[in-house]
Symmetry: C2
Subunit: 205 residues, 2 copies
């Protein structure tokens, strides 16, 4: 009854790690440009300077490639937000709080257009939807903690609704933030913050 099919335990070499990173970079680019469905794995491999066979040496299929990419984004997101989402002084004025949380997120999304492309892509299989969950979970619970800290008496349902709405409001403006020229960014950013502050002020102002 021993499980022989357990795990082949491949030892990855440094070369392999590097190739994987190159393939993920290429995938991020092509997904951002064409969307998940239209992006071809052959094109991704070519963009990474690799052959199709090499791609499939590291990723079982196209889904897993996207999942791995998403997982890498989540890691980076956690690193980038670690401080921003850390416990704040509850008396920090709302505008300052919004600055502190939003600025790193905006910077991240502008630096990683593939992230939003993958997150927003609707033509996505259940498996990839699953892969997106950690990213969404991360944002949700981080916001939840901050809101709860500033409005301890808030009913759970109201809290959840507020968090969800905040995330969706922000996500709606993301295409603007991503597409903005560098020179227009401050104005656009300010306007997004204004909207969120106006919405949140009654609850956690």
């Amino acid at each position: 009854m021993t499980e022989d099919t357990a795990k082949p335990v491949r030892k990855r070499q440094a070369r392999g790690e590097k190739r994987m990173a190159e393939l993920l970079d290429a995938a991020a680019e092509v997904f951002a440009e064409q969307g998940f469905a239209k992006a071809s794995t052959n094109a991704i491999a070519a963009r990474a300077g690799a052959s199709p066979g090499t791609l499939y040496q590291f990723f079982k299929n196209k889904q897993e490639l996207a999942e791995a990419l998403m997982a890498r984004y989540v890691e980076r997101l956690e690193a980038a937000h670690g401080e921003a989402f850390a416990p704040q002084d509850p008396r920090l004025p709302l505008p300052h709080l919004v600055d502190r949380v939003l600025d790193p997120i905006i910077a991240f999304d502008r630096a990683n257009p593939g992230f939003h492309a993958l997150l927003a892509d609707p033509g996505v299989t259940p498996e990839l939807a699953e892969a997106k969950r950690p990213a969404q979970q991360l944002m949700f619970s981080s916001l939840e903690a901050i809101f709860l800290q500033r409005a301890p008496g808030i009913p759970p349902a109201r809290l959840a609704l507020t968090v969800t709405m905040t995330i969706h409001l922000f996500r709606g403006t993301l295409p603007l933030l991503i597409a903005a020229e560098e020179k227009d960014l401050p104005l656009t950013t300010m306007e997004v913050k204004r909207a969120l502050i106006a919405y949140l002020a009654p609850l956690i102002g």
Copy 2:
């Protein structure tokens, strides 16, 4: 120098109009379920109870099918909003204005999930992007007119930014509004309106 390649001038029969409508209905369903890229024209034809050949009798290719669907949505949108976007009494309280404009839009988007699916689809060719323009233009100019009426002295750049931001904020919440159960809809709707009112009050309150 006569243009012989002008137009074949096919006379469409009532039967043909009906078939086109059926094909567009089917396309709306399949696009909504699978997204533009993954939806196969054969599947759309089959869903409409027609053969591939019949589909291509009425639509030159997949793009044109999507464009025709989008055009039909724009017509319906204009019909549905005609009154909502018509000139309002400038002294109408902002919450009432928001009710009047948003309620038909929300109803429309819930009744036509294919519309948002197509509008939000990122894996879309330039031609389809072109087809989306009238819909976006319609919303933009309608909102612009209303805002201008209520805040006549507003600078053009500020007006444009406000309109764009309003549209994107709302669009971000659309997935929530579309996915909401009937019983949750009033609460979600109220929250969306609260957000927009809070954002707009300083300018056109």
